[in-house]
Symmetry: C2
Subunit: 320 residues, 2 copies
DNA sequence: TTGTAAGCGTTATCAG
DNA sequence: CTGATAACGCTTACAA
């Protein structure tokens, strides 16, 4: 693999000149520029990225932490990040964690080790305190409804959205409402739980712990949930669930069991993916891709606010 | 950011010694090792990855080319790659292409530029000829049912699988069979088309070009397809479709329109994702994750064959 | 066991 | 406009 020095030799110029033409600097006489180009052609020259990275101190690589790529929500964020990243010539390094703190630390070490210029957490298990310690090494963006302002964050207002969802169920006559979460420990889930408690208080309903279902993320989970619901002695009449996948699983199973929807069982979910539209599931639209894009804009310093709150929208369909 | 030289100075040893303890080399007296560790602690030392990469000539970074992360099939492959990559301490660099050849070339340039040690094409638009040219710069693996042997490939035997699927539809009494593809130009699609032609010939049916639907990948596509089907003058009684998403869209719409399945319209798909099970869709299971894993094993030289053919399995459910 | 020194391939400063 | 030359931070012969 020819290097810049060999090019310089063959072209009869100095390495600096070669570097200049490589980086499209002005102030290079055209003859020399041509000579360099020819030499590069002749020796089939191609730049060595790690060398450039070392010399420059930056890599144009962006780290993305996500629990699992198979959960559409995260896939969508990545899609948004990729789309916006493309504009800024950024490549993505994916760190799949399954909410394993160790893996998240590895991602942070990539930042500290200067392999990536910035890091986006689509979700996290590690504590904010730890994450913040890495901030000096590069921008870190959180895709969550965060109250702190040390780290930029982008999200919809989950508490408000969850309250709106519950209110909607209320107006439809439901008071016995259950809900599901993806991961109770998450920031977004905390907001959702808070909203749940607020509304239950407001309508003088007890907060039944067993009506807050944790770890519900997939169609499969939705199926089990409906089966579960059938066996319950005291049954909620409505569910506000994690995402459209869970809702889909619930709806499919409910239909099979001849459960009347939405009279007997109403379901409202989050995300508004294709599947929700196809199955006429009432849902709260989240601009997921947009979140990814905004996150990149934070990295690029295009976005100056420390917290961006994106709009959500309730979509009325057939399941409520 | 402290570097190896400063550590050496503080610890009273040479840089080589520091490097040795950094890389767990033997032949370092314990005292010195301790001293180095202390110095690293004191100066909060952390290695600089690009420097290591430049020096070593490798990066432990693996490139993954995929059209879109939102198509579950590709997401699954990536999941498999990530899982297996984890074992070998590989990080993933994602290159989303939307079948844009330019983007694929960029990925190949990352390989040539020594940023990634290997590259996996989960699918491709670029010609084999071009891709092969980059092989000297690192291993390139194709996730497709390829006939060439210059580049390692991993796939199910698509022609056989498609024929089996068609045969199955035949045994169920269907002769007027249509099919859908994700992208006609793809290698896998070619195999599928070939199988389609073979079987249609065998049963003396014409190959109706308008019964081969291209660009069918999503639930939405499936919905349109059924709507389309309703308007057709001559209707197929069965579809062998790209994937479970398309099938799901078709089934949902068919049910809404009161179309009798499988009598009036039978559907067989590929992949066997959660949604297929949930909706009782008959499908041909593909070990997608396994494909990703095998691809990584190729990169790691764990797999010596040039072509790996994985088993598929027809899953009988309610739509045929 | 340990140290010296020569890379790895660029960029960037500074003098001309 | 151009060229020396010193970084960038680490690995790895080779010697000792």
């Amino acid at each position: 693999m020819a290097n810049i020095r060999e090019i310089a030799g063959l072209a009869g110029v100095s390495v600096s000149t070669v570097s200049r033409v490589l980086n499209n600097h002005p102030y290079v006489r055209d003859e020399k520029r041509q000579a360099v180009h020819q030499a590069m052609e002749r020796l089939d020259y191609h730049r060595n990225l790690p060398a450039i990275h070392l010399s420059k101190g930056t890599t144009n690589l962006l780290g993305v932490v996500l629990p699992s790529i198979e959960i559409p929500y995260f896939g969508n964020i990545v899609e948004g990040i990729a789309e916006e990243g493309l504009k800024h010539d950024l490549q993505l390094v994916l760190i799949q964690t399954n909410y394993n703190v160790e893996k998240e630390l590895e991602a942070l070490e990539l930042l500290r080790g200067s392999l990536i210029d910035g890091l986006i957490f689509t979700s996290r298990a590690a504590s904010l305190k730890i994450i913040k310690e890495y901030n000096p090494h590069g921008p870190i963006i959180l895709c969550e409804d965060s109250d702190q302002t040390d780290l930029p964050s982008v999200s919809i207002p989950h508490e408000k959205a969850f309250m709106d969802g519950l209110d909607y169920l209320l107006t439809k006559g439901h008071t016995k409402i259950a809900c599901t979460l993806g991961r109770k420990q998450g920031t977004n889930s905390h907001k959702r739980i808070k909203a749940y408690q607020t509304i239950m208080d407001k309508i003088n309903q007890p907060v039944r712990e067993q009506w807050i279902f944790d770890k519900c993320l997939t169609i499969e989970d939705g199926i089990h949930l409906t089966e579960n619901w059938c066996r319950m002695t005291e049954r909620p009449t409505a569910f506000l669930v994690t995402n459209d996948q869970v809702a889909a699983g619930m709806v499919l199973t409910a239909k099979e069991k001849g459960i009347h929807m939405p009279e007997e069982l109403a379901i409202l979910s989050f995300d508004n993916q294709q599947i929700a539209k196809a199955m006429h599931i009432s849902t709260i639209d989240i601009p997921i891709k947009q979140m990814g894009k905004k996150a990149v804009q934070f990295i690029q310093n295009t976005e100056k606010r420390s917290k961006v709150s994106l709009p959500f929208q309730l979509i009325e369909r057939a399941t409520v």
